[in-house]
């Protein structure tokens, strides 16, 4: 009898309260009907990545019964400015209206330390459900299980990803999984100051213009006395805008498997030497030091640069500057290499991702699908390029961007967009490359010396990679 405890009134009361609590908790959980999907995924089988077929169970929430409390999901983003934040709230309101069982709570956070905090929160299990992500976060995070693969949801719900003109797989795919849907599409564009072009007696460049034509334009637009530059290109270090010349010349930064540096190959060297010559031989491109003093693209904003490479997301600032400074501008196609006839631009956008340990996968997916889908992209298209083709080709969108012809950068990105070489260790090898890259522009190293050292450092990093870092 010693081991047994008598059922007292107090114990009965406690048990009752416990049962009530458990019942209440159970009621708060979304009821789910598991859906089974079979798909091909990449797995590490005894150290070697292999493609295997795996059955994935995706839980789908049923419609919530009346009177049930809505599920609150946290949507985190670094501060984007008043207008974008207003649009985000409109999206959240619209989604909540259409899905009364979902309550979206937006968290605007400081940009500095955003990624560090997100990692820490994820480790602690307190991360938001949906978050904005940059290209150097998604694949490193996805490789470590930090983000949810959206492919099973896309396949289950027939999300129209094939309607996207933007090559999503290049930037956001990792081992067969897709880890984000667009905030809005973006990438490298060439801005030209039409007013300065007219003053120099130049027409807008033809679509098939070459690097030689580009140099001729840059020289014609440079006026040292006026402090006017022919061209601006601040982000020369790979994997940024400077890559477009490397790819145009027929070179690459890494091999196809992304596990060996290829910058020492002649084509890549030629692609680095071209902007180097623009800077030091022809003096039509300011040095990184000069650009850093006044801020990137400031010379273009103030009408003191004939052409400039920048992201499509700069368009709002260029538009404002052109109004205040009284100049006209237009997009131009990226010039092609005179021999290889290759044209290349760097892609560069941000995505919404779902954190891997969210308790509310369905609700989070509903939000991400809304933002990346037609309605969300339509709301965001005043800030950037919408992903769906039907939107980017619509008169409504073209009107938003008038008088500029936004089809120019869109077609460049679609035909010739290159990714940022996203790998699980991209930040580490980007840093190694950046360390060796600097002396090229300070005159302390030749292009060949710097690239040779950079490749040695990058290959050293790749040699240490655990198997699951490999792209496959």
């Amino acid at each position: 009898m010693l081991g047994r405890k008598a059922i007292t009134r107090r114990r009965l009361l406690k048990a009752g309260i416990g049962a009530l609590g458990a019942g209440a908790l159970a009621a708060c959980q979304p009821a789910a009907t598991p859906q089974v999907i079979e798909k091909e995924v990449t797995k590490i089988v005894e150290g070697t990545p292999q493609i295997v077929k795996e059955t994935v169970v995706v839980e789908k929430t049923l419609v919530v019964e009346a009177g049930q409390k809505p599920v609150e999901i946290r949507w985190a983003c670094y501060a984007l400015g008043e207008q974008r934040e207003k649009t985000a709230q409109e999206c959240a309101d619209d989604l909540m209206q259409k899905n009364p069982n979902v309550k979206v709570s937006i968290e605007w956070r400081p940009g500095m330390g955003y990624w560090d905090k997100l990692q820490t929160e994820f480790a602690a299990g307190t991360a938001p459900d949906v978050t904005i992500n940059q290209m150097n976060w998604v694949i490193p995070g996805a490789a470590r299980g930090m983000f949810l693969d959206l492919k099973p949801f896309i396949e289950r719900d027939n999300f129209p990803l094939d309607e996207y003109w933007y090559p999503m797989n290049l930037e956001w795919e990792w081992r067969g999984g897709l880890y984000g849907l667009l905030v809005y599409a973006g990438g490298q564009a060439l801005y030209v100051n039409k007013t300065l072009l007219a003053e120099a007696g130049l027409d807008l460049p033809e679509p098939d213009w070459t690097w030689d034509d580009f140099l001729m334009y840059a020289q014609a637009l440079t006026d040292e006395e006026k402090g006017q530059w022919g061209v601006l290109d601040a982000h020369l270090a790979p994997p940024y805008w400077g890559c477009s010349f490397i790819h145009g010349a027929g070179g690459t930064v890494l091999n196809d498997a992304y596990n060996k540096c290829t910058l020492t190959e002649p084509a890549a060297i030629e692609g680095v030497k071209f902007p180097h010559d623009l800077m030091f031989k022809y003096k039509v491109l300011p040095t990184p030091a000069a650009v850093s003093q006044y801020g990137y693209f400031e010379a273009f904003h103030s009408g003191k640069a004939g052409m400039g490479f920048a992201g499509t997301f700069w368009v709002g600032q260029v538009r404002d500057a052109s109004k205040s400074q009284g100049f006209e501008w237009e997009f131009a196609h990226m010039p092609v290499h005179p021999q290889t006839r290759k044209r290349s631009v760097q892609l560069g956008s941000n995505v919404w991702s779902i954190l891997g340990n969210t308790r509310y996968r369905e609700e989070s997916w509903a939000l991400v699908a809304y933002l990346g889908g037609y309605e969300g992209q339509r709301k965001w298209m005043k800030f950037g390029l919408p992903g769906p083709r039907s939107l980017v080709e619509s008169q409504e969108f073209l009107d938003v961007w008038k008088p500029q012809d936004v089809r120019i950068p869109v077609s460049d990105m679609e035909c010739c967009g290159h990714d940022y070489y996203p790998t699980a260790d991209c930040d580490e090898w980007w840093n190694a490359l950046g360390q060796e890259w600097g002396p090229i522009w300070s005159g302390e190293a030749t292009v060949e010396e710097a690239l040779s050292r950079a490749c040695a450092a990058i290959d050293e990093i790749f040699a240490r990679r655990p198997p699951y870092y490999e792209k496959v």
């Binding site: 990624w115 560090d116 990692q119 820490t120 994820f122 480790a123 490193p140 995070g141 470590r144 299980g145 930090m146 040095t287 990184p288 030091a289 000069a290 850093s292 003093q293 006044y294 260790d425 930040d427 580490e428 840093n431 950046g434 360390q435 060796e436 600097g438 002396p439 522009w441 300070s442 005159g443 302390e444």
Partner: protein
């Protein structure tokens, strides 16, 4: 034995209710601090020690790997570079800032016009947040349009240094920038200088001591505890230098400003190697402990405490 036997034995006395209440209130009053130290200081210290023996990618659970992180350190080229760069910074910046701060404090201790203004001007850089001052100095050091090179060109220097983008000049630039913050230690020196009894100077003067002798035999010994304090704080702070490398150079060019804590931070949050970063942190803690202990040990030879009897500190 007799002495030990004759020692009064401690008498255990029961606390009265009011004494108990008083003790409880005392513990309650200090409990936020104690809890804070346990949760936010001791906890992370213990956790980081444990993590230093693991492979921990932050977003995945840690895996115990024994001493692998520490053995990897020995072979890590970037670890040795970080150590070399930071040591160079510490052994240059600390003596320079101590000397400069002391010299400025001596000047600020003179009876000259606008003394209050001068003191304020020298101290003001300390009020500027470190990130803002790093950005400001990036402009000053800009090789083409920066104030410093503009000034050097006016002086006739045809090819002034490239500063932050030069492998040779990036570190000297950051050391120069660090001297901007001498206002902090200067204020402490100034307080110390003003605490030196004037009768010591009067006595020295009567004995025929000139200004150099007074400085050497009165000011320096009297100021030695303050110098000691600033030296210890300088060593501890300088080994942890971070902002300049993070904001101004990213550790470059060619790892010329690859500071230890920058490498630690990159390892933890950019390269997903929190376990390795923890090992780096513990090695840094030991390095700081070693140099601090060295200074403490040497202090018996050069630090003078008024009223101190040797051997009975």
């Amino acid at each position: 034995m007799q002495e030990a036997d004759s020692k009064p034995q401690p008498v255990r006395r029961r606390m009265s209710p009011s004494e108990k209440r008083e003790a409880l209130e005392g513990f309650l009053a200090i409990s936020p601090w104690v809890l804070g130290v346990i949760i936010f200081l001791i906890g992370p210290i213990v956790a980081s020690l444990f993590l230093s023996f693991t492979e921990y990618e932050v977003v995945k659970p840690p895996v115990f790997i024994g001493l692998a992180n520490y053995t990897r350190l020995v072979k890590d080229r970037l670890f040795w570079q970080a150590l070399k760069v930071t040591a160079t910074y510490v052994f240059t910046s600390v003596p320079l800032s101590i000397s400069l701060a002391f010299a400025v404090a001596l000047l600020m201790n003179q009876k000259v016009a606008f003394l209050g203004l001068f003191r304020t001007v020298y101290y003001m850089p300390n009020l500027v947040p470190s990130v803002a001052s790093a950005i400001l100095w990036s402009w000053i050091f800009n090789p083409e349009f920066g104030l410093l090179n503009m000034f050097l060109r006016r002086l006739g220097v045809a090819n002034p240094p490239m500063w932050l983008i030069s492998t040779k000049w990036a570190m000297p630039a950051i050391i120069i920038m660090s001297l901007w913050g001498v206002g902090g230690p200067m204020l402490i020196y100034l307080a110390g200088l003003q605490g030196i009894p004037t009768e010591l100077y009067e006595a020295a003067e009567i004995d025929g001591a000139g200004s150099v002798a007074r400085f050497r035999h009165v000011t320096l010994p009297q100021m030695s505890p303050v110098l000691f304090f600033n030296l210890v704080m300088g060593i501890i702070g300088s080994w942890q230098v971070f902002t300049a490398g993070y904001i101004m150079t990213g550790g470059g060019p060619r790892y010329a400003t690859w500071f230890y804590v920058l490498y630690l931070y990159n390892s933890a949050f950019r390269y997903f190697r929190m376990g390795y970063a923890s090992a780096l942190a513990w090695v840094l803690a030991l390095i700081i402990l070693f140099f601090t202990a060295l200074v403490f040990r040497s202090s018996t030879a050069w630090v003078y405490y008024a009223g101190e009897l040797k051997g009975r500190r």
